[in-house]
């Protein structure tokens, strides 16, 4: 118990003294996971909408594949991304293994199916007649899709939260493709594991608390928007 209090104390000391190393680690976590979530939103919402609104043979298989992808284990993603990015691997010429960019790529692969799966569910849950109604009002196809996305914005915010929550807390892929390099690719989760290994439990607890605070703050903001916009 004493250890946890020490950890909490340490977390606040590190936060309020703006400890440069901890600030750097926290900022990098936000950057990497933020960019990954953003890219996964672009891909996930567009592909998810397309899948949800169209009918084609094998749609059920595609949707079940997307849903399986929502549980894609980060270590598996990390392993495959590393193999591809190795110097002597297929994409080795890029020279981006052990960089934040590699972490963004891996996290995007993790977050995209999550966003896509929730998008498909959100779109399919809209009343079918809505589409006809929008088209009957003289909207073009693009306008129709855009209106539908706007209609589904509340569940889509849940997709943002789930996607971001999935990648900010992820460790398996980050440590494999990022390498936990001090001051360069070290994020909150990988730093926590390392400090635990070093036996610096107070610091590890402090980092965990910062991670929780961060996740909470971002979800609080998103939830606020979501609840304010709740349809009457």
């Amino acid at each position: 118990m004493e250890l946890i209090f020490e950890g909490i104390k340490r977390a606040f000391i590190l936060l309020f003294t703006f400890d440069p190393e901890v600030m750097g680690i926290t900022l990098l976590s936000i950057k990497v996971s933020g960019v990954a979530t953003f890219v996964s939103l672009l891909i996930g919402i567009s592909v998810g909408t397309a899948v949800a609104l169209s009918t084609f043979p094998g749609k059920k298989i595609v949707v079940s594949l997307i849903n399986t992808g929502m549980g894609l284990p980060p270590v598996v993603v990390g392993l495959f991304v590393s193999i591809f990015l190795w110097r002597n691997g297929p994409l080795g010429f890029l020279g981006i293994l052990y960089t934040p960019l590699a972490m963004i790529i891996a996290q995007t692969i993790i977050a995209t199916p999550i966003v896509m799966g929730i998008t498909v569910a959100a779109m399919q849950q809209l009343p079918k007649k809505l589409r006809l109604q929008i088209l009957a009002l003289g909207a073009s196809r693009v306008q129709m899709v855009w209106t539908l996305i706007k209609e589904a914005r509340l569940p889509l915010l849940a997709a943002v939260m789930a996607g971001f929550g999935g990648v900010i807390s992820e460790i398996g892929a980050s440590i494999m493709v990022g390498g936990n390099i001090k001051g360069y690719s070290r994020v909150l989760t990988t730093a926590t594991v390392m400090e635990t290994g070093k036996g610096n439990f107070e610091v590890a607890i402090a980092l965990s608390i910062i991670l929780l605070l961060l996740a909470y703050t971002i979800n609080l903001i998103l939830t606020n928007i979501q609840q304010r916009e709740r349809p009457r």
């Binding site: 900022l27 990098l28 950057k31 933020g34 960019v35 953003f38 190795w86 110097r87 002597n88 080795g92 020279g95 981006i96 293994l97 052990y98 960089t99 934040p100 960019l101 706007k150 914005r153 915010l157 390498g179 936990n180 390099i181 001090k182 360069y184 690719s185 390392m194 635990t196 290994g197 070093k198 036996g199 439990f201 928007i225 304010r228 916009e229």
Partner: protein, 284 residues
């Protein structure tokens, strides 16, 4: 709705601003990938040495802390430029197979057998590592192995072999597959024996319920070498960077840092500098 669009647009702009300068990676020819063992990271030694090296040479070191076994596999595949490892027999094979060049002795410390203070196998004070291992096996007290092909794991297996004990599949023998720091934590929780390098043990001692029970056998010497990965097999290896790092590790300045590292915090040095010596000198 407008609000959401605004928020999203703002978020985008914000992300754009913080990302662009942040990810312009240093030029690749200045990057060195150092594959090393967990003990050099868990003790904090690299946190002291790497900044000095980077400042001095302008290289950027990407430290990948894994077991010695995995570090050498990375070297074999050309995925690292320079190795700092402690698994002498495997290293000799690595160099003999032309995967590495310029293997240099950097430093040593020693392995110790740690366990719960109650010492159910009664190994306290035994000097011979073989005898201590025999007693642990005979008493079937739990023993935790790294099980990760690291230098420590290799050493442990060689002791079992020397003691002529069958340990695989035994109930009292468990493998963690984790780094040294975490394995020590598990051993402490499980009141188990384990083999550890002295440096990691000293660095973590304050949180562990483990004591040094057997030490001092010549067999327990733990020697660290730096090896440059052979560029003839993998042309992408950063040769000047690897050489600069290897030279730095055996330089007088670095050796002086190693000599005093940890004295202030733990009351005893964690590593003993050995640049220029030969392996045989240490075994005397």
């Amino acid at each position: 709705m407008k609000r959401i669009t605004c928020t999203l647009a703002l978020a985008l702009v914000f992300l754009g601003f913080c990302v662009i300068p942040g990810f312009s990676a240093p030029p690749t020819e200045k990057n060195i990938i150092l594959a090393t063992t967990t003990s050099t990271q868990d003790t904090g030694l690299l946190d002291v040495l790497i900044p000095v090296f980077e400042k001095k040479t302008g290289h950027f070191v990407k430290t990948i802390a894994v077991g010695s076994g995995q570090a050498m596999t990375m070297g074999e595949r050309g995925e690292a430029d320079v190795l700092l490892v402690h698994s002498p027999e495997a290293e000799q094979k690595f160099v003999a197979a032309d995967y590495g060049v310029n293997r240099k002795l950097v430093m040593h410390n020693d392995y110790v057998i740690v366990g719960p203070a109650a010492d159910p196998a009664k190994i306290k004070g035994i000097k011979s590592a073989r005898e201590a291992f025999k007693k642990i096996a005979a008493s079937t007290s739990p023993f935790l192995s790294r099980g990760d092909n690291s230098g420590t794991h290799a050493k442990e297996k060689s002791i079992w072999k020397a003691a002529n004990i069958k340990y695989e599949g035994e109930k009292w023998y468990q493998e963690t597959g984790l780094g040294m720091g975490q394995t020590l934590n598990v051993a402490s929780e499980k009141k188990a024996y384990t083999l550890t390098d002295r440096g990691t043990y000293l660095a973590l001692k304050k949180n562990l319920g483990l004591e040094i029970l057997a030490e001092g056998d010549a067999m327990l010497l733990n020697i660290y070498h730096v090896i440059e990965v052979n560029p003839s097999k993998w042309p992408k290896v950063n040769v000047p960077g690897a050489k600069a790092f290897a030279d730095f590790m055996v330089s007088r300045e670095t050796q002086a840092i190693i000599k005093t590292f940890g004295v202030e915090k733990f009351g005893a040095p964690l590593f003993f500098p050995d640049a220029g010596k030969k392996d045989e000198d240490l075994r005397k």
